[in-house]
């Protein structure tokens, strides 16, 4: 396995990914910044809403700051998922089939968990 390429590329991918998602979150945070509001009052009791309902509420109320932050959060959540696929292709390239299959299994498990979230 070409370890040099693998380590450097992975490290750059993780650092760049955290920088991009951090920047998106920063933009979203300042878009909705209000020193006097208390946004946490709505979260004192659990009120389940589906993702689509949530997005519709934000669109209806023109709450673009939350939508921008949502995209930053989604990118952050997807970073480790993409990292698994980078490793999958790396191992496949080096003909390490057991490790490739392990990566495939992990990727499928993450996709199943996303699906379970949509179904609940």
């Amino acid at each position: 396995m070409n370890k040099q390429f693998n380590h450097k590329f992975l490290a750059a991918f993780l650092t760049l990914g955290s920088f991009i998602s951090g920047s998106i979150l920063l933009v979203g945070f300042f878009l909705g910044f209000d020193l006097n509001s208390d946004p946490f009052i709505f979260f004192e009791s659990y009120d389940p809403l589906t993702l689509m309902d949530l997005v519709n509420v934000y669109l209806r109320t023109k709450n673009y700051s939350s939508l921008v932050m949502m995209s930053g959060i989604l990118l952050l959540i997807l970073l480790p998922f993409f990292r698994v696929f980078i490793l999958l292709f790396q191992f496949l390239f080096n003909k390490e089939y057991i490790l490739s299959l392990s990566c495939l299994f992990i990727g499928i498990c993450i996709l199943i968990s996303f699906y379970l979230g949509l179904g609940h």
Partner: protein, 272 residues
């Protein structure tokens, strides 16, 4: 309490977490529930985003410095992601009272684990899977000697990772403490390797459960946005200031916070 106070607390959590080698979840969940009176379901979902932020932010440097055993991480992640799926399904059955009590027990367990200082033993024999998959590697010791290490007890390690994955999804934590315990004491890896590999794996474990919570609509950007941002900034500042802060005093302070938060959450859980 406003978004700016949440941002500052999250920066402190990221800063402390990066200095002490822990994820932010252990600080964020008690802070959200005790200080901001947020329902624990939202706190847990939000905390998982902070766990990913800590892992992604810190593992880049560890990977670059070759401290992470990527091949071993891939094998152990089979256990953690399977556990995360089970944990997410279990979490639907638990109400706020049980989640709070479970989290309080976890805080007190972490306090006891930090109190007990065990001497690490490094494995001298490899598990057959480690030989077959080329999981053994080398590391630089404190005395700057390049030394080979072996990986032992892989099936037991995967099982402990499965339990760590369940706890991660239920409690919104990275379960780094269990991962390091498994790699350090069961698989007998050098501590630095355990800690770097754990940090790398935490992101995937949390991604599986955070994705499920995100698509269920439990991750609210008003909470998770400032938390993730604060954690990212705090975990970037921490390593740069590590030499200026006495880690032993910070560790004692952190243990005191753990104990107080554990007791407070336990009392709160009993009242729910």
């Amino acid at each position: 309490m406003t978004s700016i106070s949440l941002l500052l607390i999250s920066m402190l959590a990221g800063f402390l977490g990066s200095l002490l080698g822990l994820g932010g979840g252990i600080i964020i969940v008690p802070a959200l529930t005790i200080l901001f009176k947020i329902d624990i379901h939202y706190a847990i979902a939000c905390s998982l985003v902070s766990v990913i932020a800590t892992s992604v932010g810190s593992s880049g440097a560890y990977v670059k410095n070759r401290l992470t055993n990527i091949r071993l991480a891939v094998i152990l992640e089979i256990g953690t992601v399977s556990g995360a799926i089970c944990g997410f399904l279990i979490s639907s059955w638990l109400n706020a009272k049980w989640l709070t009590l479970l989290f309080a027990s976890f805080l007190l367990f972490t306090f006891v684990s930090m109190l007990r200082k065990k001497q690490s033993i490094i494995a001298t024999k490899s598990h057959p899977w480690a030989e077959k998959l080329n999981l053994n590697s080398t590391h630089t010791t404190d005395s700057q000697i390049n030394s080979q290490y072996h990986v032992s007890q892989i099936p037991l390690g995967i099982f402990i990772m499965y339990i760590a994955g369940i706890l991660s999804a239920i409690l919104g934590i990275g379960s780094g403490i269990f991962k390091v315990l498994a790699m350090d004491h069961v698989m007998k890896l050098p501590f630095k390797i355990s800690s770097a590999t754990s940090s790398f794996m935490i992101g995937v474990t949390a991604s599986a459960s955070a994705g499920a919570y995100f698509f269920r609509g439990d991750i609210r950007p008003e909470l998770a946005g400032p938390v993730a941002l604060g954690i990212l900034v705090g975990s970037l500042i921490g390593p740069k200031l590590i030499s200026k802060f006495p880690t032993s005093i910070l560790k004692k302070l952190f243990m005191l916070i753990l104990l107080l938060a554990g007791i407070q959450m336990f009392m709160r859980g009993l009242r729910l």
